[in-house]
């Protein structure tokens, strides 16, 4: 049997955005086979061409996108250039990142039946397929629910079921978990693994989630500079630590730790999973090859604490920057989103708001700049009651970075986009120009100053919106899921800017599901659950509270779990990053 997917010497360029410009080359010399039942992950930076490769596997590129297409793509033996998308759709199912654009019906079962109906299948067959697809994604009880009212993870499982009902041999998914909470991510990945194993479906998953690629995928591909540069098992691929980092792609923590330890201790450590790491490090400890160095521990931890202490000192401790008293909020449709929230945030703190989707994180954040006003209780920002102020007034002290940069971007050039908020503040033109220039330099945007921001990559668009917010010099910066969908390099660069703002004494309130981000950056974590504060404390304390973690559907970063398992050897359980653990050993 031929492979489910065969790509031969694929070259693809998008049509030029402007008549005078050259076509945008995205893929070059790409060849690849995927067998039935293989679960393949596609890694690469944002803008590396992952989405285009996904579109090419069901013929949308070039049928719908136009452009220059050379080479051949066969799926299930069909040449994608010679068959219309509607026909290829029976072989390749495609799931996109944003569920809103792919769920078209108002009942889950109608959504799943939509594809088979389009194929003109007899009703009895459709009924069987709907039942089968619902079962395959574990949503048997959801048939008459409205897809638009489901959680992100459930929506993506509906979208997967809807393509499964067409009985594809190949399932292609373009960053389906980028906007999901950890629970939703895990559910999608385990469904995919089951489909590959039990139904022999070939799966190609474009993602930035290297931890889960390590755990679930059989094979990983790396797309860089238009070509596939690495192809092998996750272990083989992640062994190329230097190259991956140079290409801007992250590594799973355990792999990173094994490289780090091998390098520092001059002794090869080979593990890629937590269990292997526990065994490997334990053995080294028992045999005496590695010693736990309490001094290093103390120093590292003291280092962390001093940092927080200084950031606390920069603000005046007695008057908090944000005071929230008995805050309750109910949406007009009657949903009580916040109940009895009491918080105070000091100037200079870096606070993370965590918790499952729908727990009230965004609702709480929107109270900080007055987009929402308390139904009960009050919110004081920089000493002022938000109820008495309008959003544009609060915008002077509170910068707010929305999850989707495209909601903010409208100007024809990056320069004007950044200048917009400054003009609104009524600053003199020369000061605006000066601040815009320094913002573009700081955010590495100087080269695209005169480009339309809408044409930049996601990482750059986030930088543009962050630059625009920070150029207004707010006292408080609120970020809603700033790293969703970003690759390792973009994430690193963005967080470097946020950390710099924090170190200069700015207050940061950041919503995130990313536990690595919490471990690496947060001074304090507030976990929300059903509109209440479930936990408020340091990341180290949070990672020790199993009950809170389960309830809020949060996971613990692998390196923290490793430190916890090594506690009997004197490794402090308060370790948060790979570097800290490596320091200790």
């Amino acid at each position: 049997m031929p492979p489910a997917v065969q790509v031969r010497d694929l070259y693809y360029a998008y049509p030029a955005p402007l008549p005078a410009a050259a076509p945008t080359e995205v893929l070059d010399n790409v060849s690849l086979d995927i067998e039935a039942g293989e679960f393949v992950a596609l890694l690469g930076r944002v803008g590396a061409g992952k989405s285009t490769l996904c579109l090419a596997l069901n013929g949308l590129a070039p049928h719908a996108t136009g452009g220059i297409f050379r080479g051949q793509v066969f799926v299930g033996g069909l040449d994608t250039r010679k068959h219309p998308v509607a026909q290829i759709a029976q072989v390749t199912g495609l799931v996109f990142q944003d569920p809103e654009t792919q769920l078209t019906q108002m009942r889950v079962e109608d959504e799943i039946a939509f594809g088979p109906e389009n194929l003109g299948l007899p009703r009895q067959e459709i009924v069987e397929r709907v039942n089968w697809a619902l079962h395959a994604v574990g949503l048997d009880d959801y048939r008459d629910r409205n897809p638009s009212r489901l959680s992100g993870g459930e929506k993506q499982r509906v979208a997967i079921a809807a393509t499964l009902a067409m009985r594809p041999q190949v399932l292609v998914l373009d960053e389906p978990t980028a906007n999901l909470d950890p629970g939703g991510k895990a559910a999608v990945f385990s469904v995919l693994l089951r489909l590959a194993r039990q139904r022999s479906i070939a799966i190609l998953l474009a993602t930035q989630d290297v931890e889960r690629v390590q755990r679930y995928a059989q094979r990983a591909l790396v797309l860089h500079d238009r070509r596939i540069v690495l192809d092998g098992s996750p272990e083989e691929v992640f062994a190329h630590e230097r190259e991956l980092k140079a290409w801007g792609i992250g590594l799973p923590q355990m792999t990173e730790l094994s490289h780090e330890l091998s390098e520092r201790l001059g002794k090869p450590f080979r593990f890629s999973r937590l269990s292997g790491a526990v065994r490997g490090v334990r053995r080294a400890l028992v045999e005496g090859d590695v010693l736990v160095q309490p001094n290093a521990v103390a120093e590292t931890l003291r280092g962390v604490e001093t940092l927080h202490a200084t950031s606390l000192r920069t603000g005046s401790v007695d008057t908090p920057q944000v005071m929230i008293e008995q805050l309750g909020f109910t949406y007009p449709d009657g949903t009580a989103a916040l109940r009895g929230v009491d918080l105070s945030i000091q100037a200079g703190e870096l606070v993370v708001l965590a918790g499952p989707n729908g727990s009230g994180k965004t609702t709480l954040a929107k109270h900080l700049n007055g987009l929402l006003k308390p139904s009960v209780g009050r919110v004081l920002v920089a000493g002022q009651d938000t109820a008495a102020l309008r959003v544009p007034q609060l915008a002077r002290s509170v910068g707010y970075l929305f999850q989707n940069p495209d909601h903010q971007i409208f100007a024809p050039t990056v320069r004007e986009e950044i200048a917009f908020g400054l003009h609104l503040q009524g600053l003199p033109p020369d000061e605006v120009a000066e601040r815009v220039d320094s913002a573009m330099a700081a955010h590495d945007l100087a080269t695209c100053a005169d480009l339309p921001p809408a044409t930049l990559s996601l990482g750059q668009r986030r930088q543009v919106t962050l630059a625009a917010v920070l150029a207004a010099r707010p006292k408080i910066l609120v970020l809603d899921e700033p790293t969703g969908g970003l690759d390792w390099r973009s994430r690193y660069e963005l967080m470097a800017r946020v950390a710099a703002f924090s170190q200069e004494g700015g207050t940061v309130v950041m919503i995130t599901h990313d536990v690595r981000l919490i471990a690496e950056h947060a001074g304090r974590v507030i976990v929300m659950h059903t509109g209440r504060v479930l936990f408020d404390g340091t990341p180290a304390a949070l990672f020790g509270q199993r009950k809170v973690l389960t309830e809020a559907r949060l996971t613990v970063p692998p390196v923290v779990r490793l430190a916890q398992r090594l506690a009997p050897f004197g490794v402090p359980s308060s370790i948060r990053t790979v570097a800290e653990l490596a320091d200790v050993l």
Partner: protein, 258 residues
Amino acid sequence: MSSSYDIYFRRNTWVYSLDPRVKLAIVFVLIVLTFLWPRVPVALAVSLVALALLLVAQAPRVRIFRFLRGIIPLLALVLGLTTLFAGGAGPAWVAWGPVRITPLGFQQGALLASRLLALGLTFFFWLSTTDQGEMVRGFGSLGLPYDWGLTVALALRYLPILAGLFEQVREAQEARGLDLALRGFFARLQAYRPILIAVVIGALRHGERLGWALEARALGGEGVRRTTYRPLTFHRGDYLVFAILLIILAGAILLRLL
């Protein structure tokens, strides 16, 4: 929270479970009744019937209330403008320049406004009790091409999403300090420019993706006759309501002709 813009809200009451064709027939009969007699009480009566249907269906009262609150300023505007400028023969209550307020003009305004209310409530009843899938099948069974029905249904489904997008973009721009509470029409229009641009870009992107997603689900395959997963069937209650509607329609037309 785009879902709060949805009009349709599923309830398990008998009005909701009526066949979509019957609901379409209800809409048709109510519209015919509204226009059969050019009289305010008739239009108001139709409005009351539509409201009663909504209440019997147990459509969420908050939404009914919100709809009424939204339409009342429009009705007032229609009534006011028509009264002021429709003129009409006969003695004037007030005559001042182009403004001639006559009883006839007032009557016309009232008729227009009351009919608008009747139509508004009728369509609101239809949209809030018929799910989009049923709507498409209903259109289909009346002989409309599937694509048309799907287009209408998708438009209805995505209007709330667009409204949600508008809301999110407005919030994002306000958070940057954009002041929308400006005085003066043009200043305001100018202030909305960034929002409109971002919304249009977003809507275009959304439309492109939606097109891809539909194609990826094999919509529009050549030479394929689409089948239906949940075919429509008339139940006893449907026949009953349909019969009553026929009687009302026939009776009303007879009454009008006599």
